[in-house]
């Protein structure tokens, strides 16, 4: 019997403590627009349907538990910087990604969400990308890192996520539906970006900054990755 998720083409957006609020919110907003007149439905999933921290002072409560959405049509993993690295040690989350990936026809990550896909072993022998500041670290995990705003390999779409997931999800909509649908949603959320001081020059992204950040969080990461010494060792080389 096909489950409700299949009939409705559920897109599961994965949450974890400390995730980037905008990655979650922008992704869900764009997907909700897609849900109009289609059978795609987005749902946020988490370990528990209890309050978790975001990377802002506002806490969030995901809609469903992982086990309530066992076979989504697609998976989206938001970023969270260091919080993503810590979440690599969360067995329940990593197990969910491994399990849900079997039935998912598309697997996407925003920014450092790709670290969770890597921790689940889903990026082995695949080309993938991440937030430019974390490129070096993703390589340390053995992923074939490709520089770019988005990289597609099979059913995997990993993105740099440098617009809080907006660009990523518009691309996803174009793949699932059409470019016209993506443009319509873009108009609805008035996404015509005009950063007052222009974009960012990623050429300036300095590796030293990342090494320093990593050192600052060494204790937290050691604790968070206690069950995954393999990952901890690779990160700290």
């Amino acid at each position: 019997m096909p489950t409700e998720e299949k009939k409705n083409k559920t897109i599961a957006v994965v949450t974890y403590p400390g995730l980037a609020l905008l990655d979650l919110v922008a992704t869900k907003t764009v997907l909700d627009d897609l849900a109009m007149a289609t059978r795609y439905r987005s749902v946020s999933v988490g370990e528990r349907t209890e309050a978790i921290a975001s990377n802002t002072p506002m806490r969030i409560i995901p809609e469903k538990k992982f086990e309530e959405v066992p076979d989504p049509f697609a998976l989206v993993v938001p970023g969270g910087g260091i919080a993503s690295l810590e979440a690599m040690g969360n067995d329940r989350l990593i197990d969910y990604l491994r399990f849900a990936e079997h039935t998912a026809e598309m697997v996407c990550s925003v920014s450092t969400g790709s670290f969770l896909l890597a921790a689940a072993g889903l990026l082995e022998r695949r080309r993938a990308t991440t937030h430019p500041a974390y490129a070096e670290l993703l390589k340390r995990l053995g992923v074939d890192y490709v520089e770019g705003y988005s990289v597609e390999d099979g059913k995997f779409l990993t993105t740099a996520g440098v617009s809080g997931g907006i660009d990523t999800t518009l691309e996803l909509v174009a793949k699932l539906r059409s470019e016209g649908a993506a443009k319509l949603i873009q108009t609805d959320i008035e996404y015509d970006p005009q950063p007052p001081f222009g974009g960012l020059d990623w050429g300036e992204a300095d590796g030293d900054g990342l090494v320093q950040t990593l050192e600052e969080h060494r204790m937290d990461l050691e604790q968070a990755l206690a069950g995954r010494p393999d990952l901890y060792q690779k990160l700290f080389g």
């Binding site: 907003t29 995901p62 809080g164 015509d192 001081f197």
Partner: protein, 237 residues
């Protein structure tokens, strides 16, 4: 006690209310959370009638950090928008009272998207230049504001952004006004905001053809839900 907790800090307060478009809030919240981390002189909070899980348009519940009473005099007050729930909020007394009194003492009161309608509904935008989501510009004008189609518009101490994602650009401009361009750029870098819409920008000259978007559809109902704008702006003055 609230004053004691605030100390010398300047508070940037976002208003949260049931059913709002949480994207309006999430973008600028990321910017000002980043600013607070770099410049401890500022603290960023999310205020609501009660500190409890609050429903949002994307069904992910969000938990504010403070109640209205706990933050009576924020330095910056930002009101996010939404669809029908925003039109309802315009006649909700606790929200109206808080917005009116906090905007009065705030150094910078402002709005994102249709949040401008809430400011306008308590009479704060009469005769002022302002902006809102493109589909709602006529509703804004009914409240006596002069609609300007720009990414964000400043008039006196007020600042308003266009729809949804425009709040991010406005927040960066405001961050620069509160501090300096260099600091705003550092915030942008720490967030990695470098938007690249995969299918280009918005063609504002042909919006008529795009009237089928979600927010455009809802805006048609606005005059019915937010009836008698003149009465609303005069209520409880």
């Amino acid at each position: 006690m609230a004053a004691e907790e605030q100390g010398e800090q300047k508070t940037i307060a976002f208003v949260l209310y049931p059913g709002l478009t949480v994207f309006d809030l999430a973008g600028p919240l990321q910017i000002f959370t980043g600013l607070s981390e770099l410049v401890p002189e500022y603290r960023t909070v999310v205020v609501a009638e009660r500190v409890e899980p609050t429903d949002t348009d994307i069904r992910v519940k969000m938990i504010p950090t403070h109640s209205f009473e706990e933050v009576p005099n924020p330095y910056v007050l930002l009101v996010p928008g939404g669809g029908v729930p925003t039109l309802r909020a315009m006649s909700n007394e606790p929200i109206r009272n808080y917005v009116r009194s906090a905007a009065e003492t705030a150094e910078v009161p402002g709005s994102i998207c249709t949040g401008a309608l809430i400011l306008a509904s308590v009479g704060l935008l009469e005769g002022r230049q302002a902006t809102t989501h493109w589909a709602y510009h006529k509703v804004l004008e009914q409240f006596g504001a002069k609609y300007v189609r720009k990414r964000w518009v400043e008039d006196g101490k007020f600042i308003c952004s266009a729809g949804v994602s425009a709040g991010i650009d406005m927040a960066l401009a405001l961050a620069a006004r509160l501090t300096d361009e260099e600091t705003a750029r550092r915030v942008q870098r720490s967030l990695g905001y470098d938007p690249h819409p995969p299918f280009g920008g918005i063609d504002y000259d042909h919006l008529g053809a795009l009237a089928g978007t979600v927010r455009a559809g809802l805006s048609l109902a606005a005059p019915v839900i937010a009836a008698r704008p003149k009465q609303l702006t005069r209520q409880n003055r």
